[in-house]
């Protein structure tokens, strides 16, 4: 079967062709087989075993008949997840026969791209350079799915949004801590009068802040973990894809807690310090 390089062309063929012809082939007729994507099967109400006509011409000229041998799930592509995956796969000679213009020289022996798997992936750069030098008309591109630039940018965008949200949350937290410290003004004044040192009271505030921040962070992580399924289900339904949009990994959870704890502690300390630096009598004055 022809694989990835032809996918760009195939959706058009499939979409164009499936629009019209569905033909039940005569019993026992040997027809070339194709696989259709799940999306195409559902959208055009096709069925495995059905005979369809495909054409490279938008008006359906020169259509050829194929039997649907099976259905497949296209490999999720993050850079195209909003697009409908109306695709089909067929044997290369069938595709060439379908798309070649009659009498077009060399068309029956040309492909859009060739996938190459190297023995050693680290040789990719050198191989690309050498092939480019030997065959100047060929464009050699290294396939690197892992570092898709779209992903990197989206990640940067989400990080920036997180930073802004965190700044807003910090202001909120600080305001709450100030209120809380203010509510305990008289208690702090009494403790000071009883002989407790500022450091002792600050330590208490620090521990309280730590507990509150830890509880908040753990709740946040648990909430995210509990709701990730719903978020993924919504986006998978919305875009008809098997991509995972949200995944709370241990690393992400650890990063959240690592950011939240110091912020909570600092907010508590700062709020308490603004109170404790005042003279004792000021704290007790109503």
């Amino acid at each position: 079967m022809v694989r990835a390089p032809l996918l760009l062309l195939l959706p058009c063929l499939a979409a164009a062709a499936a629009g019209a012809a569905r033909a039940a082939g005569p019993e026992g007729e040997r027809l070339p087989e194709i696989l259709v994507s799940r999306g195409l099967l559902r959208e055009r109400r096709l069925a495995v075993g059905q005979v369809v006509a495909l054409s490279a011409d938008p008006r359906g000229a020169g259509a050829r008949r194929f039997r649907i041998a099976g259905v497949y799930e296209p490999t999720p592509d993050p850079s195209r997840f909003t697009a409908k995956r109306l695709e089909a796969r067929m044997h290369l000679p069938d595709l060439l026969a379908l798309t070649a213009e009659p009498g077009e020289a060399g068309a029956a022996d040309s492909v859009s791209a060739i996938n190459i798997a190297l023995q050693d992936a680290s040789d990719a750069g050198a191989f690309a350079r050498e092939l480019g030098a030997r065959a100047p008309g060929i464009s050699v591109v290294r396939a690197a799915a892992g570092d898709d630039q779209h992903f990197v940018i989206i990640e940067r965008f989400h990080l920036a949004i997180s930073v802004v949200t965190m700044i807003g949350s910090t202001a909120f937290l600080l305001a709450l801590m100030v209120i809380r410290a203010d509510e305990r003004r008289e208690v702090a004044g009494l403790l000071r009068l009883l002989g407790l040192r500022r450091r002792r009271i600050l330590l208490q505030a620090l521990l309280e802040g730590l507990c509150i921040a830890a509880a908040g962070a753990v709740f946040g992580v648990l909430f995210a973990a509990a709701t990730q399924g719903a978020v993924n289900a919504f986006f998978r339904w919305r875009y008809d894809t098997t991509l995972v949009f949200v995944r709370v990994t241990p690393a992400i959870a650890a990063r959240c807690i690592a950011v939240a704890l110091p912020l909570g502690v600092m907010a508590g300390l700062l709020a308490s310090w603004t109170l404790l630096r005042r003279p004792v009598l000021d704290l007790l004055r109503r």
């Binding site: 760009l8 063929l13 979409a15 997840f81 802004v164 807003g168 909120f172 305001a175 875009y239 603004t274």
Partner: protein, 394 residues
């Protein structure tokens, strides 16, 4: 003393708390403002790009995006046929291709080539030199190149560009430097005539077009033009700019619309929570004061108005600061997202519209009203005598 003055004095008694509240609302409000800009930014920006070409209808062979599906066959006859429709002012066939050029240092580099007629409207903007001419002086057809290609290859009017993707290499004469509406940052782009296109791609099928750009007559409008094309050629697919944008809104651009909706909801909720908490705590700490005011003759309505004014000051102060902060933040976020590959460099994700300001204002007014509701009910229902007694005992 007016409720606003009274609220101002109440807030100034706790300056740190009030300032933090305003900062919190400003930051979250900025995020909300940005999400409002993001929700329609791509659509507005893309509309600007499409309209800048001067063509208001696109015609393709299938529903696929131009260049992604089969081409329009018999392009010359189709162009001729459509040009005769009274609703249409102009029809221009366009072809897209990718080739490699012999770059400096013996390397090759990919260049996107657009084949079209000599420029009629805004297919591109001429920056230097001359536009395409139909001739091919010395067997070298004219080519216009974008600034990136010109700068990186040191090209100027009269320079020769040699394609490496054909054997033997085909040559073009640079007639001018232009800006293409849809060129991506760092992308090498060139424009040639349709004859030049077959020179660059000798094996490409003749008499095809990936796209037909159509300008409707002003008196007819794009909708009438689309109807006329569909009537004359039902086998073709004609889209007005509005239809293209509607399709993008529901498919390609929908992710950012949903992200903006989710984040705007969170930001609104956060603002509400922050202001409600501040006001509720503030009222709880001043129960005695509120009861005393009621005993002095302040009506429930007046107490409610005071709290509403306090909420308005917090939300209003933060909301006003949120606008410049949001614009600044939007520039940063926009610059991050515009680094995406293959994105037109003139496309923006965050675009300010008067509608965004109005919505931002509406959200904030609503937040101020809702945030003040609970503490206002708390204060208005306060039993005066019991509260004063409790306060004096404590």
């Amino acid at each position: 003393m007016s409720p606003l003055h009274f609220a101002g004095r109440s807030l100034s008694r706790q300056p740190a708390r009030a300032l933090l509240g305003v900062i919190g609302v400003a930051v979250v409000g900025a995020l909300l403002f940005d999400m409002l800009m993001l929700s329609r930014g791509l659509i507005v920006s893309f509309r600007d790009l499409l309209e800048s070409t001067g063509f208001d209808v696109r015609v393709t062979a299938t529903e696929a995006l131009p260049g992604m599906g089969p081409a329009v066959a018999e392009a010359a006859a189709t162009t001729e046929e459509l040009s005769r429709l009274p609703e249409l002012a102009m029809v221009v066939p366009v072809r897209f291709g990718a080739a490699t050029v012999a770059a400096r240092g013996g390397r090759t580099h990919e260049v996107a080539i657009i084949g079209s007629q000599t420029r009629r409207r805004g297919e591109w903007r001429l920056l230097e030199g001359a536009d395409l001419a139909d001739g091919a002086a010395g067997g070298r057809p004219d080519m216009v190149v974008n600034r990136t290609l010109a700068r990186e290859q040191g090209l100027a009017s009269g320079s020769i560009v040699r394609l490496a993707s054909t054997l033997p290499g085909r040559e073009f004469r640079v007639s001018g430097i232009v800006e293409f509406p849809f060129e991506a940052t760092g992308e090498w782009m060139a424009g040639v005539t349709l004859r030049g296109f077959t020179h660059a791609f000798p094996t490409a099928r003749r008499d095809e077009a990936d796209l037909l750009l159509v300008a409707s007559r002003p008196e007819a409008g794009p909708d009438a033009a689309v109807v006329a094309i569909r009537r004359a050629r039902p086998d073709l697919h004609a889209f007005s700019i509005d239809e293209v944008l509607e399709r993008l809104r529901h498919a390609e651009f929908s992710y950012f619309r949903q992200v903006s909706f989710v984040l705007a909801t969170i930001a609104s909720f956060f603002t509400l929570l922050l202001v409600t908490t501040l006001l509720t705590v503030s009222v709880n700490q001043r129960l005695g004061e509120v009861a005393a005011l009621r005993a002095l003759g302040f009506s429930r309505r007046r107490i409610t108005l005071d709290l509403l004014a306090e909420s308005a000051l917090l939300v209003g102060g933060g909301g006003i600061a949120a606008v410049p902060l949001g614009l600044l933040l939007a520039r940063g976020l926009d610059s991050i997202l515009r680094q995406m590959p293959d994105l037109p460099s003139r496309l923006h994700f965050f675009v300010l519209e008067p509608r965004d300001l109005a919505l931002h204002l509406a959200f904030l007014v609503l937040a101020a009203l809702i945030a003040a509701a609970y503490p206002a009910i708390l204060a208005a229902r306060l039993p005066i005598a019991a509260t004063l007694r409790r306060e004096s005992i404590s």
